[in-house]
């Protein structure tokens, strides 16, 4: 990082109450306060959000594509986790 190069931040926006924050994009800022303000100006200037999180990109730990199989495939063969796995006689309500 040169002395004029600001770090990268990831921006998460809650579009309205009741919904989770979702990743909106990233931006550069010298510090957290400016990251928050820049995010407000950039990602909510058309009223797209009611709350914002900013996280330094370097603070994110991500699963690597190499881990893809061991990480995500085991869950694919557990259909009993999903409600459609179960057969319920017709006419049974509220289930």
């Amino acid at each position: 990082m040169t002395n004029t190069d600001w770090p990268l931040w990831e921006v998460f926006v809650r579009s309205r109450r009741g919904l989770s924050h979702t990743h909106a994009g990233s931006l550069h800022a010298p510090d957290a306060e400016f990251a928050l303000r820049n995010a407000r100006d950039l990602y909510t200037r058309r009223g797209e959000g009611v709350s914002i999180w900013v996280v330094p990109s370097s603070a994110i730990t991500a699963s690597s594509p190499d881990e893809k199989d061991p990480f995500f495939e085991p869950s694919a063969d557990k259909p009993y986790r999903h409600p459609t796995f179960y057969e319920i006689p017709e006419g049974v309500k509220h289930l």
Binding site: W6, H28, P30, E33, F34, R37, D41, L42, R45
Partner: protein, 239 residues
């Protein structure tokens, strides 16, 4: 309408917003970093929106903006000052947005003709003030170069700050109380920014008056020439 709007006050506040918005618009494509392009434009757009409402209270917004002569503009000399470097722009923002925020908060709390407008604008202006304060602290307490530039900018614009506390016909605000609050707030920000409050007088030694009386500074004439030229070249045209 139940209350009549005092035209002088509408013009004073409207012209402040119009002229400062114009100056900020000059930054487009020239800001120090892309994120700041977006921030400055946001502030400029807020101000332009306020200007349009205020001028419309006094007459036709475009006639007032484009067809008045320099002497008929009632804005503060502070807001017409050229952008200078980024430090000058930030010092101008700090001085003006602190004033505007304090003033609009008072107007919003009252029941005068500007209360509804001020109630909406005060939220926008709070953000402008925050933006200016954040930058003042970073430039003041940044590098040696930025510290020096910021201190110089504050000193250069200081002489235009006294005008803000002059009484304006139709605005029920106690000037000296406003000045005290303003000094306290600006003083606090400058301290946090490791800057000192400029020492000189808050107004120039010219008893003829200043912007509120229609007397402006040299750069303002050129600014208006640019702003009004196209509109005036096509009398009666609609756009």
């Amino acid at each position: 309408m139940t209350t009549t709007v005092p035209t002088t006050a509408a013009l004073a506040l409207g012209d402040d917003a119009l002229v400062l918005s114009h100056r900020l618009g000059e930054w487009a494509g020239r800001a120090p970093v892309l994120e700041e392009e977006v921030a400055l434009a946001n502030i400029a757009l807020d101000l332009l929106g306020q200007a349009r409402v205020l001028l419309s209270l006094a007459g036709d917004e475009d006639e007032l903006a484009y067809l008045r002569e320099e002497r008929a503009f009632r804005n503060l000399q502070l807001v017409e000052q050229p952008n200078g470097d980024f430090a000058h722009t930030i010092a101008r923002q700090l001085f003006f947005s602190t004033y505007q925020h304090l003033l609009y908060a008072r107007l919003a709390a009252g029941d005068g003709p500007f209360a509804p407008l001020a109630a909406k604008a005060v939220k926008e202006v709070a953000y402008h003030r925050d933006h200016a304060e954040q930058w003042t602290v970073r430039l003041g307490d940044g590098t040696e170069v930025s510290h020096e530039r910021m201190q110089r900018a504050c000193a250069a614009l200081w002489r235009y700050t006294g005008e803000m506390f002059q009484p304006v016909e139709g605005l029920d605000v106690e000037g000296e109380k406003l000045r005290a609050d303003w000094l306290e707030s600006v003083g606090d920000v400058l301290r946090r920014a490791t800057l000192t409050l400029p020492e000189g007088p808050q107004s120039g030694a010219w008893t003829a008056g200043a912007g509120r009386q229609g007397l402006h500074t040299e750069p303002f004439g050129r600014m208006l020439a640019e702003m009004q030229h196209l509109h005036r070249s096509h009398p009666g045209a609609t756009w």
